[in-house]
């Protein structure tokens, strides 16, 4: 079961891990944004990403429009769904325990996943949207080929992370978001339209999920099930980021991507990356909740 250590594979596995990690980071940032501002852990985050990706598929593959239009369509679809979830099902539940709202997102997960399966076929093969060409360039010293699509994905992830940080730091909306994240009641006293800010966070977070979905589908299997499950990887990265720190979330996502990929160089067992994810989830939950520590006592 344990292969001879194939050192030669490390560089290419690193590339894969980084790209995967970048996607996780993107999804995780969106998740954390929604969580901090609206207090809801969106279990349907992956389902939203999945649905939006299928919209891109519809636009770019089935209707033949250029890939970037498909991406934009996905972002619009993603933020649209996020908006509907927030205004339609979260806002009526203000004041209810957070667990109730989370269960609602579970309902959305089921609904979105089934709907996508009904519209586009649950088990059929879908050609992923290829935004950037697969061809790549050779990195000199380490002898690995990096695809332009891989590079783009990673760069986009970093850019989005920086953009989010900039949004939160330098814009009015971002400051409003941070205020609401801190204390919605106080924010309201300062004249901040909490409803609009919350809706904005859902839209932004879901749009990011959409981008993550579109970018990851060339790398993994593109079906209604797997993409929905990306939410657990996003969770893990978000937990590593302690559900609050943007840089740590990014690092967490990248770290998770690498941690899932590297073992494949040594162990041939199928579910190894699952095992790694599971251990990391346990570890982050355990570390986050030391007895006596009152961090993140939100739910």
């Amino acid at each position: 079961m344990i292969l001879a250590v194939s050192w030669g594979l490390i560089p290419s596995y690193t590339v894969i891990g980084l790209v995967l990690g970048g996607v996780y980071a993107m999804a995780a940032i969106g998740l954390v944004l929604i969580f901090r501002v609206s207090g809801v852990l969106n279990f349907a985050h992956g389902a939203v990403a999945m649905f939006a990706t299928f919209v891109a598929y519809q636009v770019s593959i089935l209707w033949g429009l250029p890939g970037w239009i498909g991406l934009i369509a996905a972002m619009l679809a993603g933020s649209g769904i996020g908006l509907v979830i927030e205004t339609g099902t979260m806002r009526p539940l203000t004041g209810r325990p957070p667990l109730t709202k989370v269960v609602v997102t579970i309902g959305w997960l089921l609904g979105l996943q089934t709907l996508a399966g009904l519209v586009w076929g649950a088990n059929a093969y879908h050609r992923p949207v290829q935004l950037v060409s697969r061809s790549g360039f050779r990195v000199p010293l380490v002898h690995v080929v990096v695809g332009y699509d891989q590079l783009t994905t990673f760069v986009v992830a970093l850019v989005l992370a920086l953009a989010t940080a900039a949004l939160l730091r330098f814009t009015t909306l971002g400051t409003a978001m941070r205020a609401v994240a801190d204390s919605p009641a106080t924010a309201r006293l300062w004249g901040i339209n909490v409803n609009r800010v919350t809706a904005a966070s859902w839209m932004a977070g879901s749009a990011m999920a959409a981008i993550a979905g579109v970018l990851i589908t060339p790398l993994i299997s593109f079906d209604t099930y797997s993409l929905t499950l990306i939410v657990i990887d996003a969770f893990t990265a978000a937990l590593i980021g302690r559900l609050s720190s943007l840089p740590l979330t990014v690092l967490g996502g990248i770290g998770l991507g690498l941690a899932q990929t590297y073992p494949r160089a040594f162990i041939s067992s199928a579910g190894v990356s699952e095992l790694v994810t599971f251990i990391l989830v346990l570890a982050t939950l355990g570390l986050l909740f030391r007895p006596g520590s009152s961090r993140v006592r939100l739910a």
Partner: protein, 335 residues
């Protein structure tokens, strides 16, 4: 109290119907009815967890899988008797439930939910995946355990097996109901009410919460064991994460605090799909309906459909005392 007696009468009537009705239907419907029984047990396992300690789990089917695969591997692979394999599967499931409960002690409901998602995916993609533990999961080929005989009577006939499943379901429901209205129910409701107060009143929170987790998982394991011999084939996709989510959604819609919701939930899970099929609608719509129903229901009736209905009936029949509004009979309504 007339409300109580009415409720007993209704339950008795339902039991009679449950026993007699399938006699008039086809074997296929009887098989579905048996499925409704172990599905009902799964909902019951959620009632124990949600109704007692207020936690939501998205990995109940994984516990069921433990029961199912234990029976499958031992009965089909090693020719054990079902009556030995089944208790072992239940115990194994209960043990895993306690293990999952340990980190849960420190986690709030929200993060526990994440943990159960991780557990479910862990089972789906690692533990039960071919190659990891083939002697348990069967690798690429499903286990095919045969039906056992109960006290000399073969259970291969669908009606016979259904009656057996019904009996198991009723016994479990009765046990859980007894627990709920007695000391155990009080203790667990106290823990739900205020953990701090409960612990200063002498309750060992750890022991009780772990017991609840273990019991919930054990019931799920029992459901899995039944499903293994009902279907006659045990394969991992039947116990996957989506099933757990669907189960959780139905349980919550039905009102996971109420024992009565177990039967309703089980019937709904199985016959809901059946009805769709009869109407020539793809059974895929079932999950969609459940998802939408869950969202709508949470906005409208937080307690779930069943408790709201019984509550309305109870208050109608309860007597008014001293001019005060009839107190909500805390045990009666939630049963």
């Amino acid at each position: 109290m007339t409300g109580d007696r009415l409720r007993r009468a209704v339950v008795a009537l339902l039991v009679v119907v449950a026993v007699a009705a399938p006699a008039a239907t086809s074997d296929y419907v009887r098989a579905l009815s048996a499925d409704a029984m172990w599905s009902g047990l799964l909902v019951l396992s959620m009632v124990v967890l949600t109704g007692f300690v207020g936690q939501i789990s998205f990995c109940q089917y994984s516990f069921a899988a433990i029961g199912a695969f234990t029976v499958g591997s031992l009965v089909s692979g090693h020719h054990w008797s079902f009556w030995l394999a089944m208790p072992l599967g239940v115990a194994f499931a209960g043990l895993v439930g306690v293990l999952v409960g340990i980190p849960a002690l420190r986690l709030s409901g929200l993060f526990l939910a994440i943990l159960t998602v991780a557990v479910a995916l862990f089972f789906d993609n690692y533990l039960l995946a071919p190659g990891t533990w083939n002697s348990f999961s069967g690798g690429l080929s499903p286990w095919q355990p045969g039906r056992p005989a109960f006290l000399g009577l073969g259970l291969s006939g669908e009606y016979a097996f259904y009656l057996f499943s019904l009996a198991v379901f009723l016994v479990c429901t009765l046990l859980v109901w007894d627990l709920r209205t007695g000391k155990v129910g009080r203790v667990l409701r106290a823990i739900r009410g205020s953990e701090l107060a409960a612990s200063t009143m002498g309750l060992n929170l750890t022991a009780w919460k772990l017991t609840a987790f273990g019991l919930s998982a054990a019931i799920a394991g029992l459901a899995g064991a039944l499903s293994a011999v009902r279907i006659g084939s045990v394969s991992a996709p039947s116990y996957d994460f989506v099933h757990s989510i669907s189960l959780a959604a139905v349980a919550i819609v039905m009102g996971a605090g109420s024992v009565g919701s177990a039967a309703a939930g089980g019937v709904f899970l199985v016959f809901g799909r059946y009805v769709l099929q009869q109407l020539s609608i793809s059974s895929q719509y079932f999950n969609l309906i459940v998802g939408a129903g869950l969202v709508l229901q949470l906005v409208l009736t937080p307690q779930g459909l069943i408790p709201s209905m019984t509550q309305r009936l109870s208050t109608r029949f309860a007597r008014r005392t001293d001019g005060l509004a009839a107190p909500v009979p805390a045990e009666g309504v939630n049963a």
